[in-house]
Amino acid sequence: MALLRSSFLRHPGAVAGALILIAILLMAIFAGILFPGDPWRMVARPNLPPFSPGHLFGTDMLGRDLAAGIAHGAQVTLLIALAVTMLAVAFGTAIGAVAGYFGGWVDDVAMRFTEFFQTIPSFLLTVVIVAIIAPSLTSIILAIAIVSWPQIARLVRAEVLSLVNQDFVRAARVGGLSSARIIWGHILPNVLSPVIVAASLMTATVILIESGISFLGLGNRDFVSWGYLLGTGRTAFRVNWWLSTIPGLAIFLTVLSLNLVGDGLNHWLNPRNSNRGGRA
């Protein structure tokens, strides 16, 4: 308790963000217990406003409980965000590490490739990819990952470049270790903390991109995310304002808390260069 109080005083934003995030994670994990059964069945009169008895967030035009939708939608939104982040971090780290470690033409090719994905309008590209490969959980995850990895690649490359000529790496090379083992066992562990920070900030951006895709109607009906709820609520939002306001609020709070946690982690893990944060 004392620890919590002292860290709250130092980083109020990060602790508040962590608490919100934990609450949202718990809601996602226990969605099936909190709102058992199919969240998309009719349970009450249509268009009940928020704070109606038994239906905290009201109901939609088909009488479905919005609170159940938000809780179950959290699972989909967070699942996509985690999957994309893991994919993008794995790929970005591999590209960045190889580019930074080997240098020369390998670095050139890898960086031109990275630049390409950083230059083109990324949201438009994800939309085009999802539209063409047909919207599914896999295509959405892949399409967002394709535009998300470059920032990790650049970050890892820069870190690796600063490490590759240090004595412990030279010693490992003189000792005859293979390049793969040096990168994996000696360099990457030292790159971990900025990557963790960038990954937490990336998760937030991924949630924003996914919600945009679903909002445009490219989500998958079988996996209803917050963005999808927001998009379907939009048709009637001038009257039933809560149907798009509340899912948007859920997205906002999650993204906000992830950003706050990311900033807090940055101060904690990289105290010397906390201005960097990789938020571009």
Partner: protein
């Protein structure tokens, strides 16, 4: 590296990126369900295999993949993007009609975001650690976490539906036949909500970058020297701090051009703004892949050109610039 070499390198990179977009477009077009021939044949109500084969031959779809890519590259180089599947008009004409509206929206949003972001970010840096700094940073963190389209919907709800102050739909009132002045005023009023919605998100980003950049410069020796020799604070601020802090912000902003244009697809959809973003959404709904991919190519080309211009300006603006990488 000398300046000419640097700029030639940048130009070569731009061409490489554009070729990359062409290859990407080509791959996506092949991944799309049904090729152009079957779509065209379907439109003309003739699913006759012989007719489809003839069309495929006419369109070059029966040649090898590298040959097709070469044909595709040549046609894009001639700015020939083919016909829209649905509209039966050249795709380029359709996009050209919509481009001015998008440029108006994105440039207004960008101008607002840059001006407000730099102003608020430097105020925050100047009063770093104060309550004002906390409030401004809080605002930036908030807007950065809001989904663009949701901010737009909430703005419509507040300013159009409840307060009835501003229009929320389209670019001008239908059938408006007044003078030029009233037309400009009409468009300006319609522009406020979409441009602010798009701009506030980027303002949040620029505020953050400006604050960091100004704090970084304030810490440098030449600022300490200027203070020590008794220069007026206002002069130090304008001549020494802002001038040096602005350069990275401008570079950063030009790199974001692509994201800003990408964001306009959401904003134009929310506000029914008749631009390229809205066109992309319609193409998406009608599965008009030819139109969609042309939009992707043209917006990419615009971004590449913007970045190239920024590189040239950069070299012109600051002779000391490091021309590495």
């Amino acid at each position: 590296m000398d300046r000419l070499g640097f700029l030639t390198g940048r130009a070569a990179r731009a061409v490489l990126i554009l070729f990359g977009v062409i290859v990407l477009n080509f791959v996506l077009l092949r991944l799309a369900p049904g090729d152009a021939a079957s779509v065209l044949a379907g439109d003309q109500g003739a699913a006759d295999p012989a007719f489809v084969a003839e069309l495929r031959h006419d369109l070059g779809l029966d040649r090898s993949v590298p040959e097709q890519l070469w044909i595709y590259t040549k046609s894009l180089a001639r700015l020939d993007f083919g016909q829209s599947y649905r509209d039966q008009r050249p795709v380029l004409d359709i996009i050209a009609e919509r481009l001015p509206a998008t440029l108006l929206l994105t440039l207004t949003a960008f101008g607002f975001a840059l001006a407000a972001g730099i102003a608020l970010g430097s105020i925050a840096a100047r009063h770093a650690g104060s309550l004002l700094d906390t409030v401004l940073t809080g605002i930036s963190v908030m807007f950065f976490a809001m989904p663009l389209f949701w901010t737009g919907l909430m703005a419509i709800l507040l300013f159009s539906v409840w307060l009835n102050w501003l229009p929320s739909y389209g670019m001008q009132r239908v059938g408006e036949g007044g003078s030029d002045v009233s037309l400009v005023a009409d468009v300006a009023v319609h522009l406020i909500l979409p441009a602010l919605t798009l701009g506030l998100f980027y303002m949040a980003i620029y505020m953050r970058v400006t604050r960091a950049s100004v704090l970084d410069v304030l810490d440098r020796d030449f600022v300490r020297t200027a203070r020590a020799k008794g220069l007026k604070p206002g002069l130090i601020w304008r001549q020494h701090v802002l001038r040096n802090a602005l350069l990275p912000i401008i570079t950063f902003a030009s790199l974001q051009a692509g994201q800003l244009i990408g964001g306009s697809i959401l904003i134009e959809t929310v506000f029914a703004w008749p631009g390229v973003g809205r066109l992309a959404f319609d193409a998406l709904m009608q599965r008009d892949y030819n139109l969609l991919l042309a939009i992707f190519f043209i917006t990419s080309a615009i971004v590449v050109v913007i970045n190239l211009v920024a590189d040239f300006l950069y070299v012109a603006a600051d002779p000391r610039i490091e021309l590495g990488a």
